[in-house]
């Protein structure tokens, strides 16, 4: 038997203010820690879910992103005619030759402007992305200066709402539809007819070719053929992998910055917990001595004080996680450094983040309580009783 749990809990309850402040300090650190992980997860999820596993993105070799990629019309024609390409209705090949242009748009809530990605897509472009749904208006018609805007862009930028007009590429473009891409990266894009956009921007080359495979298992064969063809200086990636790589730089930055920040903060919280626990030991020296006299062992006192600080950590962890869970209601937008364009994403909480944050909180409690608990365990009985 050990020292009763009620003794440990009531000691924490008795010192309400100290307990609340210490657990509150830890809660704030856990909040920062969890929020950063949620941000990174939100970014990862947004970009990874942008890609479909049976789509292949073909870009110029070592371009890294579509914006840096160049594919000539001849090369695009070769890629389109690969045998692995799937066929859709009326025997149409499911491929989309696309071009990417960045334009600067002004925000609705301020006069600041940001880069927004315009994607010129082929007729089948939307068929390749089943997650993209027109929620207002209609699809743009080929051959006209019509565009459709992602929900997140339409909400946040002047001129991007339905019926509004945007001026770029020396033309005026009418927004005829708004699409919802299910919180993927496409939500932060504007789409138009690829041929119209290339004319407007005087481009003669595509940025990428997207194709749907009839059998996703044949990807390796397709990749080897495209990358081995001397006429093509291109590389092929599964769309899901391609977009996951797009999130790498920003995701790493968020993770490292977040972990570094939480580590610094956690030192403060650990010191706070240590001071609380040292004070707790100092106030209870007589009780510690009495418990030992009654027959409780050193290890019982050690575990009682460690449990007390673990409870502080756990309380901080729970409060921090509850606070962090509210962040799921927020969406933030920032520039994705790899595509140089605006990307909107939310905070995503999952089981792995909950476990990591909670373990982090317990570790803070454990480190904070360790030295005071060792001190409590090593007091001599006679000296402790004299402290009365």
């Amino acid at each position: 038997m050990t020292i009763p749990f009620s003794y440990i809990i009531r000691n924490l309850v008795t010192r309400k203010v100290t307990t609340l402040l210490t657990a509150g300090g830890m809660a704030l650190v856990v909040f920062v820690f969890a929020t950063v992980l949620m941000l990174e997860e939100g970014l990862r999820k947004t970009l990874v879910e942008t890609g479909s596993p049976d789509n292949v993105v073909v870009t110029r070799r070592s371009a890294g992103t579509e914006i840096q990629s160049v594919i000539s019309r001849d090369q695009a024609a070769i890629v389109e005619n690969q045998p692995e390409v799937a066929y859709g209705a009326s025997n149409m090949r499911l491929t989309s030759k696309e071009t990417i242009v960045l334009i600067s748009l002004t925000r609705r809530d301020s006069d600041k402007s940001s880069n927004v990605l315009i994607r010129g897509v082929g007729q089948t472009g939307i068929l390749l992305r089943p997650q993209v749904k027109i929620i207002n208006g209609r699809m743009f018609r080929p051959g006209l200066s019509e565009i459709i805007a992602g929900k997140s862009i339409a909400d946040r930028y002047k001129g991007a709402g339905i019926g509004e007009k945007l001026r770029f590429g020396k033309r005026e473009w009418t927004v005829v539809g708004i699409f919802d891409a299910g919180k993927t990266g496409f939500d932060s894009e504007i789409w138009g007819d690829v041929d119209q956009l290339m004319q407007a921007f005087r481009r003669s080359v595509y940025s990428s070719v997207i194709l749907k495979m009839s059998d996703p298992a044949a990807f390796q064969k397709l990749k080897v053929r495209i990358e081995g063809d001397p006429r093509l200086t291109l590389e092929a990636k599964k769309e899901s992998v391609f977009y996951a790589e797009q999130s790498q730089l920003l995701s790493n930055f968020i993770r490292y910055l977040g972990v570094a920040l939480s580590s610094f903060f956690s030192v403060g919280a650990i010191i706070g917990a240590m001071i609380t626990m040292y004070a707790s030991v100092a106030n209870r020296i007589m009780e510690i001595g009495t418990l030992r006299a009654l027959g409780f062992r050193r290890k019982n006192n050690l575990s009682a004080f460690l449990t007390e600080s673990l409870i502080l950590g756990a309380a901080g962890g729970i409060v921090g996680l509850v606070l962090a869970s509210f962040m799921q209601f927020f969406t933030i937008s920032t520039m994705n450094w790899q595509s140089f364009s605006e990307l909107a994403f939310g905070f995503t909480l999952n089981l792995s983040i909950i476990i990591k944050s909670f373990v982090f909180a317990l570790i803070m409690g454990l480190i904070g309580g360790f030295l005071p608990a060792v001190q409590a365990a090593h007091l001599s009985i006679v000296d402790s009783l004299r402290a009365a």
Partner: protein, 230 residues
């Protein structure tokens, strides 16, 4: 097991010193005496005479430098720290001057504490604790916290905690030192009953001649040496 012809406490050539500020201060010098089983003994003497140290040694919360110290036939001077903790839990009941109750536990829970180190079930523990609190006249105060009790009531809870495990000896360090005359009288009466009715061996350190009179035997300590008195 208890035999009136054999002493419950056997002390021979016991010495104890402390290191204080780099100097070794001798507290007990060559103490030899026995305490018969069922005795109620008062240890008296001026401050610093070593009476509390002697009590701590007998209770197994401190260790002698040399000499023999047997309690209930067991040489407690050679027990390891863990074994000594188990021995105390089973054989010694403590009563302190300032009661030493856990402020966050109720009277019931304070008395139950030593039983948590036994194999007794919750039901058995509950029965014992209730009985003990009835014996010290606190059956209506079981759910009260120490801060809600008077000094005398707190000391009665502490006495219940001391005898709840049915220990071989009860050690009391100035049990009436913090109490008024009436409360002190009540505490001494309970100790007397524990000695006469339950045949508990009680070793009490006190400054108070009135308290010492309750004991059947008084021993004086002076500069770490024992003087025999009536």
């Amino acid at each position: 097991m208890e035999n009136f012809s054999a002493p419950i406490v056997h002390i021979k050539n016991l010495t104890k010193s402390y290191r204080r500020g780099g100097q070794i201060v001798s507290v007990l010098t060559d103490i030899t005496f026995d305490i018969p089983s069922g005795e109620f003994i008062a240890l008296m003497g001026p401050s610093g005479s070593g009476k509390s140290t002697l009590l701590n040694l007998i209770a197994g919360i401190d260790k002698p430098d040399s000499g023999t110290l047997k309690v209930g036939g067991i040489d407690i001077a050679i027990l390891s720290e863990g074994d000594l903790a188990d021995w105390r839990a089973a054989n010694v009941g403590f009563i302190f001057q300032f009661y030493n109750l856990m402020p966050v536990l109720t009277a019931f829970e304070n008395v139950e504490l030593p039983l948590l180190l036994t194999q007794l079930s919750y039901k058995e523990r509950r029965e014992r604790v209730e009985l003990a609190l009835i014996m010290v006249g606190l059956s209506d105060r079981m759910e009260h916290y120490p801060s809600e009790l008077s000094g005398g009531q707190q000391q009665r809870v502490a006495i219940a905690r001391a005898f709840i495990t049915d220990p071989v000896i009860l050690v009391a360090d100035e049990p009436t030192g913090d109490l008024d005359r009436t409360s002190a009288g009540e505490i001494l009466a309970i100790l007397d009953r524990l000695n006469s009715e339950m045949e508990k061996t009680i070793i009490m350190v006190t400054h108070d001649p009135h308290a010492a009179k309750t004991a059947h035997l008084i021993r004086y300590l002076e500069k770490g040496q024992l003087d025999v008195a009536d």
